[in-house]
Amino acid sequence: MHATRKLSGAVILALAAMGAQAQVSDGVIKIGVMNDMSSLYADIGGPGSVTAARMAVEDFGAAKKGMKVEILSADHQNKPDVGSAIARQWYDVDKVDAIFDVPTSSVALAVNQVTRDKGKAFIVTGAATSDLTGKACSPNTIHWLYDTWMLANGTGGAIVKTGGDSWFFITADYAFGHALERDTAEVVKKNGGKVLGAVRAPLNTQDFSSFLLQAQASKAKIIGLANAGGDTINSIKQAAEFGIVKGGQNLAGLLVFITDVHGLGLQTAQGLILTENFYWDMNDQTRAWSKRFAARNGGKYPSMDHAGVYSAVLHYLKAVEAAKTDEGTKIIAQMKKMPTDDPLFGKGRVRADGRKIHPAYLFEVKKPSESKYPYDYYKVRATIPAEQAFRPEKEGGCPLVK
């Protein structure tokens, strides 16, 4: 009796194991990396994100563990219709199990919807809208990296506290720019600062001098740049030309990546204050990984998005290993259950609303004289601890939070 029970227990275990094996759909874990491969944000994510995902699969040792992992990639051209079409096709035809990266908020929201309808998994590292863990939150989505709330809170809060209490915004005239401006203005006001004005510049404006003059005339201490990519680069560059910073006003880039700083050069970008979750030169582990990455990415160092994709894929594979399934809803639940730990972001966790928690850093761009080696761009001004860096779970209005 005793023996049979033991035996049947073993059989059940074996069967369960087989069942679990069978649950990794068609025996292959398929990962889709979708981002902007060809235009504005191609340097932030682009092919580099695919490289990062590949490194995660290798470092996880998928092959040794007998897991077959395939990586697909596609260009969503920053268009929600293209992004949702690719996502649909990946899930329906190519049997993709999880989609990663997806910068550009509008596309991420569209993919979020499709993923939910199809019951798959979506881990966002590239997009910024805090709606993904707010009113659009979904049991199939994890928001891994920065969001508008974090950026506004990090940059806005820190600057007001150090005396930058009057603001003027140059905002990209689209929903994302408006959200960034709104979130930052709230933080500024909450901390006792005031907003003197804002100007809405059309997306992809070439010449910002007119808007900069308006910002100058406002006499605000801080000019907040609620834009991204080429718009940010051009506004910073032209601000230097018009002597804005020399005139005593400071620029605050609300969404600036290291690739942007690299494109601007330190001469122009020096003194800029920005918030990121990752910088390659933080510790030995990040340095080692980043140099490995740069060697495979044409010498270009990783952006925080690249680091985010790496750590997200790593955690995803760990969850698949633990849960023995790659079924979307289950795997996202598993990822939320397990604490996260990787060489780039350290220890952290994923909240019920899908928010991944890790520290945020307030950086200042170095002067050219302070930069000693390639990509030696940032110095840390402040560290915002993980639990304070993101919007409190209760305030997002996500129905998944009880």
Binding site: S210, G230, K237, G243, H262
Partner: protein, 295 residues
């Protein structure tokens, strides 16, 4: 302080000047487009890509061979102009007798290829190009701070525009060119090599785009996409000025720069759209454009 529509007059002067500076880029680019259209009957949609090539050429000259801004102003237009000559010889030639549409499509395809190749090679965030030492700094005009480089842009482009206009409208060479557009056979009969003249004209127009690119490099980022959206605006400038009219494109270029500048103050969201509104109005009232004559 005096105010106009709630804006201090001084600030308004600043905005007008800025508008004029932006207008000088429109004028330079639309000038090249107008010259090409006037003589070749081709709508050169690769103009934006060639403008980008000019900026990149300046970047290479500086970083590979240490040749600075002034060298770039001379070398880049010639180098890019030569690529233009090759394109004209090999691809555009068979299209002259056909509908405009085919030239437009061919050059549009070329623009896609050129921009794509550069993006693959150099990424999309662009590369920095410093303002040359002689032109750094600026002057406080009282109503605004005017960077020296911007002042240079406005003076230089005005000079180039007027020189081009003079050459085409007032010299013998220009007379041949204009005659060749009216009646190529007859001009050929006078012993002038019309095909070569057309080739060189295309090269010249492309060179103007490259020159504008060199001038834009220090202000904007040198990036593969810098000319992609500009082309349609510049094309609108040409249409408003009157297709093929040299003076039309110069005046319209500067004028629209100013109007766009004012829009950036009063209704900034519409500053990208205002040019098209004006285009629609002009075409409805004066079908051949402000300076054009309907054939």
């Amino acid at each position: 302080m005096t105010e106009i529509f709630g804006i201090p007059t001084q600030a308004l002067f600043g905005q007008l000047l800025i508008g004029l500076i932006n207008g000088s880029f429109y004028a330079l680019l639309s000038l090249g487009l107008a010259v090409i259209f006037g003589l070749l009957n081709i709508i050169n949609f690769a103009h934006g890509a060639q403008y980008m090539l000019g900026a990149f050429c300046a970047y290479f000259l500086l970083n590979k061979w240490g040749l600075g801004y002034w060298w770039a102003l001379v070398i880049a237009p010639i180098a890019v102009g030569i690529t233009g000559v090759i394109i004209e010889r090999t691809m555009l030639k068979p299209l002259y007798k056909l509908d405009h549409l085919y030239g437009l499509l061919l050059t549009f395809g070329l623009a896609l290829v050129i921009q794509g190749l550069f993006r693959n090679e150099f990424g999309s965030s662009g590369l920095p190009y410093p303002i040359t030492k002689e032109l750094t700094g600026g002057h406080n005009l009282g109503f605004m701070f005017l960077p020296t480089y911007r002042a240079w842009v406005i003076v230089a482009s005005l000079a180039i525009c007027l020189a081009t206009w003079f050459m085409i409208e007032r010299t013998r060479l220009g007379a041949y060119l204009r005659a060749a557009t009216e009646n190529p056979q007859l001009v050929q009969a006078f012993g002038i090599n019309v095909p070569r003249m057309i080739t060189l004209t295309y090269g010249f127009g492309v060179g103007l785009a490259a020159l504008a690119g060199v001038m834009a490099g220090p202000i904007y980022q040198v990036s593969p996409q810098m000319g992609a959206d500009l082309i349609i605006v510049v094309f609108a400038v040409v249409v408003i000025g009157g297709m093929g009219s040299i003076m039309g494109s110069i005046v319209t270029g500067f004028g629209l720069g100013v109007i766009e500048g004012l829009t950036k103050v009063f209704y900034p969201e519409a500053s990208n759209t205002v040019i098209f509104i004006i285009m629609a109005i002009v075409l409805l009232i004066k079908p051949a454009g402000l300076f054009g004559t309907q054939k």
